[in-house]
Amino acid sequence: MMRLLVEVLSARRGEDLIFHDISFALSAGEALVVTGPNGSGKSTLLRVLAGLLQAESGRVSLEDGPSGFEHPHELSHYLGHRNAMKRELTVEENLSFWRHFLGNSPGGSGIDLAAAAAAVGLAGITHLPFGYLSAGQQRRMAMAKLLVAYRPIWILDEPTAALDAGADRLFAGLVTSHLARGGIVIAATHQSLGIGQAKTLQMTGFAH
């Protein structure tokens, strides 16, 4: 059974440690919700987990994961504040690019583009340029990106910002089914994600 291990992790923002000695372990099928006020280091933690920021100390590792992967971030989807989609290209071209570029991690496969668009409730508008969509629709399409290529670990930074209540529920459904398939989800959020049981981690901000 795959396990994501985080041991005594700390990271710096400028001079000070924004968090320190964070440890947790997540098994397949478990979710972690990271909460805390603005500036408490939620995004920094997620970026460290995604391998985009250097940790000051500690390590992130994967136990019993597929062989041939050095870092957990190679097996992760990262949904940040920005959607990582090109405004000039159509939704279909965007999703198709990420599907081919990301490829599937061992142990699963992504669903096709039309099914992914339908899963986020936006079937039938994939021929439009991404820039034509509203902010909420863009966010939904960025979520569809999580579905077109399989990654066991999802790292989500405020996934439901700019979304209406219906999209919130829809997203909770996507996360729940990902967990049911043995995935791992780490999400930073202000609202509750509406998923059954999840571990929580409360961030407090700069440690002086």
């Binding site: 190679e74 990262y78 504040h81 920005r82 959607n83 990582a84 090109k86 000039e88 290209l89 570029f101």
Partner: protein
């Protein structure tokens, strides 16, 4: 990787893409020279290859700053950095796509602009060949500058200034190869071989350096 190549190609020809900007700039620079220099056909023919090369160099530098900055602005760079695929391969593919979209049109446009400069067939052919061999080097050198300046909001001119010293050898050997082809005593091959060596050298060094710079630009 092929998907990345075609995506970048598509992006550069869509609205807001930089593919045509380089060629238009190249045309502007070269077409005003005869008006400035005057109707001395021999002089134009003599300085033609140099003018074409300078124009192509500046045009090739023009759109380079967007190579990684556009990816960073919409968050795509994060995902490119996270993958199992070596980053330098990703950078290499992005460079080749950028060259195909902006460098290749310069090579194709150069014969027509050569006519403006009263160059003969041999000089035009030699210029085209040296541009074909030399412009990829400019892209690979520029990628390093673009990666270093990726987080700077007004990095455009800075990238050009950063990479210009490294691009000077390309210009020197490109132009001297053309003159060697046109004037009899000087041999064509040695400068042309050095030009190709420079391109191959930067095709290796450029992506490695750019990948290292991108890794450390993360915030």
């Amino acid at each position: 990787m092929i998907a990345l190549f075609f995506r970048d190609l598509k992006l550069s020809v869509r609205a807001g893409g930089g593919a045509m900007i380089g060629v238009l700039f190249f045309m502007t620079v070269v077409s005003v020279i005869p008006f400035g220099v005057g109707p001395d056909l021999n002089l134009l023919a003599r300085i033609g290859p140099a003018i074409l090369w300078i124009g192509a160099l500046l045009a090739a530098l023009l759109g380079l700053d967007r190579l990684f900055q556009a990816e960073r602005e919409d968050g795509s760079l994060d995902l490119l950095l996270m993958q199992e695929t070596p980053l330098l391969l990703t950078v290499f593919v992005k460079c080749t796509a950028h060259w195909a979209a902006t460098g290749l049109p310069l090579v194709v446009a150069s014969p027509f602009l050569g006519l403006f400069m009263n160059m003969d067939e041999l000089a035009i052919g030699a210029t085209m060949l040296t541009l074909l061999a030399g412009t990829p080097a400019i892209t690979f050198i520029g990628a390093v500058g673009a990666a270093v300046a990726v987080a700077l909001p007004r990095g455009g001119l800075l990238v050009s200034i950063l990479v210009l010293p490294l691009a000077i050898p390309v210009l020197i050997f490109g132009v001297s190869a053309v003159y060697a082809a046109v004037e009899d005593p000087a041999p064509f091959l040695p400068p042309f071989m050095i030009l190709m060596a420079i391109t191959l050298f930067f095709a290796v060094i450029g992506p490695v350096a750019a990948a290292a710079a991108l890794r450390h630009s993360a915030d």
